[in-house]
């Protein structure tokens, strides 16, 4: 029995007696083996997930002070950065973390593509991963507008213009995602709802699927 298992026993012996958690922890954590040939590059996906957890945690902290109102959004972010203890750090971790998460998702996908790990029986891993790439970029894009700065305003303007290239429906899609003809308080409210509830919710669902499939097929062994 190793240290972690001992600690678990000491901390929750009574609970463990009833729920029998030790085998679960051993199977998934302390006695879980990965292929010896797996290099450090196999960590990108896990690191992206770690940053996702950090984003959720710092996001909840920022929500305590952020106001999704065009009149007050910028002021509330400034308040977080200058008046809340360590607020500048939490805000910076959240915004820099978004960049890191996108970089790690791309590195993860580049490795999987280069080593051709997406082949049978792992096609659905790649497809669900592509959905996660989409939700991650959408999370970053919607979050970018929330501080309501010049940069985020014009970023949202340029970004929401992209669907106008779609034939016939393009202009209408732009109106729909802007919630009106221009970027306004309604756009901010819509992006906020997407950023806080919808996109993280979809991400978590697809992630659970992604991870369960990996447990089922196992990690691909490099040749």
């Amino acid at each position: 029995m190793n240290t972690i298992a001992k600690l678990t026993k000491a901390v929750m012996g009574e609970v463990d007696e009833r729920f029998d958690l030790t085998p679960v922890i051993e199977k998934n954590l302390t006695h879980k083996w990965v292929p010896q040939t797996l290099s450090w590059a196999g960590c990108f996906g896990g690191l992206a997930f770690l940053i996702f957890l950090i984003q959720i945690f710092t996001g909840i902290l920022l929500l305590m002070y952020y106001k999704s109102d065009a009149e007050r959004a910028w002021d509330s972010v400034t308040f977080i950065k200058s008046n809340v203890p360590m607020g500048w750090l939490i805000q910076r971790v959240h915004s820099v973390g978004a960049n890191f998460m996108i970089a790690l998702v791309f590195l993860h996908m580049a490795r999987v593509a280069y080593l051709r790990i997406f082949r049978k029986p792992r096609e659905l891993h790649w497809i669900s991963g592509s959905v996660l790439l989409l939700t991650t970029t959408m999370l970053a894009f919607t979050g970018y507008l929330l501080p309501w700065t010049q940069l985020s305003y014009w970023g949202a303007k340029v970004g929401t213009e992209i669907p106008s290239a779609v034939p016939v429906l393009g202009e209408y899609i732009v109106l729909l995602i802007r919630r009106g003809p221009s970027i306004s308080g309604e756009t901010l409210g819509f992006f906020f709802a997407m950023h806080i509830w919808v996109l993280p919710g979809i991400s978590i669902l697809v992630m659970v699927m992604h991870f369960l499939m990996i447990r089922r097929t196992g990690i691909s062994r490099p040749l």
Partner: protein, 162 residues
């Protein structure tokens, strides 16, 4: 070093076996040493994460701290009452019988905020029906203590609460 097999992490330095063998100094095992190092580094990393998070939960600095309340008495009629918030307490100012008064608007029963009845010139508590007259004395309801008076000064016809 002898063939030490205490490779488990339980006893960090040395082991009970070595002490039982009558050694003066317990021989630290390599693995035990690394266990301590890893635990220490994990602890330091944990503190580095916990510190900003716990700091974030502290109260933020407010720029607009308590300012003094100023009420020009000429503009305050007999039937009127003005409410102000100051450092978490609600203060009510009235001017009945040409005599300005300021009270802590929290009912002395359970702390609900009293409202001013401008027809009968009494304070009424919405929670349990306590009634206070314009002198702050309890008239009716489940309470005997009068409303708490708030100190003020009158400076050239302006009531000032500092």
């Amino acid at each position: 070093m002898e063939n030490c097999q205490c490779s488990h992490g339980g006893a960090a330095f040395g082991g009970a076996r070595e002490k039982a063998a009558g050694r003066e100094l317990a021989q630290p095992s390599r693995r035990g040493f690394f266990h301590v190092c890893i635990a220490a580094m994990t602890g330091i990393a944990g503190l580095a994460v916990a510190f900003p998070i716990l700091s974030f939960l502290r109260l933020p600095k407010r720029i607009n701290a308590a300012k003094s309340i100023e009420v020009p008495l000429a503009g305050l009629s007999e039937s009127q009452a003005l409410f102000f918030e100051r450092e978490g307490t609600q203060i009510v100012v009235i001017n009945t019988n040409k005599e300005p008064k300021a009270y802590d608007a929290a009912c002395t029963h359970l702390g609900c905020l009293v409202s001013w009845d401008q027809n009968e010139h009494v304070f009424r508590c919405p929670c349990h029906g306590a009634v206070f007259d314009d002198q702050g004395a309890a008239v009716k309801g489940p309470v005997n203590m009068p409303l708490k008076k708030v100190k003020f000064e009158i400076n050239k016809g302006v009531l000032v609460i500092t």
